[in-house]
């Protein structure tokens, strides 16, 4: 008994010796130069020193993800919008060139406020450690996304949202733009382990988990890959809008690598959640296949419907997002209104639904106050003060006068006759003032008492009616200035810049247009572009898929990225998040792929019903499609089919 007691006591005393080391009170320093030795670029499985096409091993793809990867072409890098893009976030840790982690500190507390992570082919990637929230869903996405970090023991957890669509690995496996990434960085001595969890609810059945190990190496340096690509397409031919892709079932390269690596069965190379679990071994050994297996799986934490709806919330509110230069984007209960604010007044592109007009007017007035010069302390006294037009004491003027009223609304531009573009016209125009008419001192009653409304002529045709007929909208809601040809320029600068309305013939309808703010570098895309749905194409009103693609290509011709295929000219979609050239290119690419698929089906003699059954949009339906509501995937496919039939 004594022996037992002594043994137990000795064991308890020695416990601290065997226990895990206590977690550090302060997190480890992860800054410095880190070397990656097992990068993915060399391609462990050969195939020309690059990851082989069709290698989806270990990726929990769903059918949409597989289709998207199969039909993607690596030549997409040759399109002008993608030539200088950096690697996508999921690949960065596994790409060539190591990593550099810098830290930015709070000057008062000296706590790390931001980590900056850099790779050879990346932009600077800030990881905010100061507890700031992630931006709203209607904020733009970037290649590196928006990252926040928090320490848990000696592990830094990084949460990243607002990522552009990209790829998991080079050469095929794609992501949607709804994926989020969670990374866990743990330092053990000079080893940094990164576990990344890519959660893409569109293309994966469960999150894709990878780990990578770096070694601390103060002698290493992270090179910067320069990119001075020009805007010419690298893909040859004479079509600068060429979108390379493979039609479904026609990418013959997917199994090439298996001829050499013939020990690998084909089924798991197609990915899929069931091939990731140990249970899959039984499928390899027996005639059973993955489809008959039951395995545990962890579902995505990203709710697709919510993630999409949040980009364009129907919450009865107006949310303002500053864009660039004079421009603000108002998210108005499911649609976007673009606002130009400046000393000349206010111009808005589209007016939202009738129910929202009071809130739009209030929001515009509130924003309008921001362009009024605030009163400043008087620095001059006396009749000779500059700017005094007849002496009225600048001192008294400054301290006694109330602020000037907000600048007036002067222009409305309707990019189409869609209800959520024109429904607020009447009331919102009445809140404005356009200084026209009169002349020679003779005022004319009513003229100039409302904002001017600019639109394509067919918008006017659609909302108006000849005398004696009932128009779709009351006269005060009708456009007052219309155009019928390629574009319409405002006759003079407005808020210091040219504003040009470009027509998009036979696009969503026969009256669509988009608006270019030439100095602010912002384009209000109208219905040509949405980040929440397929484009609405109304064949009865003159719409056509090719017109939509042409309109998007026109936007891409005008827009310029700021750097590495990101930022620069901002694009305000009709609905959804603020976007840039790469986002518009992605949308254009999707529509071009769908057009080509359906055109190929028509060439093969397939009926509309057969085309619908073949699901030519399957890889994009989770992101842009709908089975309910006013614009379903079925309606979209039918519109594309009939567009192309009519072009026969």
């Amino acid at each position: 008994m004594k022996t037992l007691v002594l043994f137990t006591a000795a064991m308890l005393l020695s416990t601290p010796t065997f226990a895990q080391p206590a977690r550090p009170a302060t997190p480890p320093d992860i800054s410095g130069e880190w070397r990656l030795e097992n990068d993915e670029e060399a391609g462990a499985l050969g195939a020309s020193g690059q990851p082989p096409l069709g290698d989806y091993l270990g990726i929990p793809f769903n059918d949409a993800g597989r289709m998207r990867a199969d039909t993607s072409a690596e030549s997409i890098w040759g399109t002008p919008e993608y030539q200088c893009r950096p690697h996508s976030a999921p690949h960065q840790w596994r790409g060539l060139g190591g990593a550099r982690i810098l830290k930015e500190q709070d000057p008062l507390t000296r706590e790390v406020s931001v980590y900056h992570i850099q790779f050879m082919r990346s932009l600077d990637r800030p990881v905010f450690m100061d507890g700031r929230p992630h931006p709203p869903a209607w904020a733009p996405h970037s290649w590196t996304g928006f990252s926040t970090g928090e320490w848990s023991g000696n592990t830094l957890k990084i949460t990243t949202t607002h990522l552009k669509d990209g790829y998991l690995k080079r050469g095929g496996p794609q992501t949607s733009d709804l994926y989020t990434m969670t990374e866990y960085l743990t330092r053990h001595d000079d080893i940094l382990t990164i576990v990344s969890v890519v959660d893409d609810p569109i293309y994966q059945d469960e999150p894709f988990v990878q780990s990578t190990t770096y070694v601390y190496d103060p002698t290493a340096t992270v090179n910067m890959e320069t990119c001075n690509a020009s805007a010419f397409a690298e893909n040859g031919g004479s079509d600068r809008h060429w979108v390379p892709h493979f039609l479904p079932g026609q990418n013959t390269a997917l199994t090439e690598w298996l001829k050499k690596e013939d020990w690998i069965p084909q089924e798991p190379t197609r990915g899929g959640v069931k091939t990731l679990y140990p249970e899959y071994r039984s499928a390899l050994a027996a005639p059973a296949t993955a489809s008959t297996l039951r395995v545990p799986s962890s579902k995505s934490t990203v709710a697709i419907d919510k993630a999409i709806a949040d980009q364009s919330p129907r919450d009865g509110e107006v949310h303002a997002l500053p864009v660039q230069g004079n421009i603000q984007m108002l998210v108005v209960d499911g649609t976007n209104v673009t606002v130009s604010l400046g000393n000349d007044g206010v111009l808005i592109v589209n007016t939202g639904s009738a129910a929202m007009t009071d809130k739009v007017i209030a929001a515009v007035k509130e924003l309008g106050k921001t362009v009024i010069a605030p009163a400043t302390a008087n620095k001059c006294a006396g009749a000779n003060c500059p700017g005094a037009w007849g002496w009225a004491s600048p001192y008294f003027s400054a301290v006694t006068s109330s602020p000037a009223p907000p600048r007036p609304l002067r222009y409305i531009i309707n990019t189409s006759a869609a209800t959520d573009h024109v429904a607020g016209n009447e009331k919102i125009a009445a809140s404005g003032f356009f200084p026209r008419g009169g002349g020679f001192g003779g005022a004319t009653a009513g003229v100039g008492s409302r904002a001017s409304i600019i639109a394509h002529e067919n918008v006017l045709n659609r909302v108006s009616a000849p005398a004696g007929k009932i128009p779709a909208m009351p006269t005060p809601a009708w456009p007052t200035d219309t155009f019928f040809d390629e574009f319409h320029k405002l006759p003079e600068y407005f808020n210091g810049e040219a504003v040009i309305v470009y027509g998009a013939p036979a696009a969503n309808t026969d009256g669509d247009s988009f608006v270019y703010f030439r100095h602010s570098e912002v384009i209000a895309a109208g219905n040509l572009f949405s980040t929440v749905s397929y484009p609405v194409i109304d064949l009865e009103k003159g719409g056509n898929i090719q017109g939509v693609i042409d309109g998007l290509n026109h936007i891409l011709d005008l827009a310029v990225a700021e750097y590495r295929g990101q930022g620069g000219t901002w694009i305000v979609p009709s609905r959804g998040r603020l976007s840039d050239t790469a986002d518009v290119a992605s949308y254009r690419n999707m529509l071009t792929m769908i057009r080509d698929r359906i055109r190929d089906s028509i060439k093969k003699g397939m009926t509309l019903a057969q085309v619908k059954a073949a699901r030519p949009t399957m890889d994009f339906d989770g992101r842009y499609g709908s089975t309910t509501g006013p614009w379903t995937t079925d309606m979209f496919v039918e519109a594309v089919y009939k567009s192309l039939q009519e072009k026969k």
């Binding site: 020193g49 690059q50 096409l53 030549s75």
Partner: protein
């Protein structure tokens, strides 16, 4: 040491060095060569240079040459980045618009795409060539 090497050995070492360099350059591509090009096939293009874009991350030679059906097309032939080319003695003046050249390249995997990855380039007029020696081909 250099004096101990024969001219032939020096040449062989040079070739190996260049080969290693270009093998390395393939790994530096920001896109995947193997996924972009069908590296098991070659296409021979004979035509006139329309543009030589000496730049990063990759240079491009734009060539007017016939396709398989004999129709003249604008071909974009991808080449190495400036650092790799400069080391091999190719600079922005090496090729001129209008030069007649013969290019062997790996064709794009995408049907209908007039794009290729440079394997060899020859200018018959003065014998200028790149990649024609054993082991020099990229990828």
């Amino acid at each position: 040491m250099g004096r101990l090497l024969t001219a032939g050995l020096k040449t062989r070492l040079y070739i190996v060095g260049v080969a290693v360099m270009f093998a390395g350059s393939a790994a530096y591509a920001h896109h995947s060569y193997g996924a972009t090009y069908d590296t098991s096939r070659e296409v021979k293009l004979e035509g006139k240079i329309l543009q030589f874009s000496y730049r990063n991350p990759h240079s491009f030679v734009t060539l007017q040459a016939p396709d398989q059906e004999g129709v003249q097309q604008r071909w974009a032939v991808e080449w190495s980045g400036t650092a790799q080319l400069a080391t091999a003695g190719v600079n922005r003046e090496s090729l001129k618009v209008g030069d007649q050249v013969v290019i062997v390249g790996r064709p794009s995997r995408v049907p209908g795409e007039f794009r290729a990855l440079m394997v060899t380039l020859k200018r018959p007029l003065d014998g200028f060539s790149w990649g024609s020696r054993a082991g020099e081909a990229v990828d």
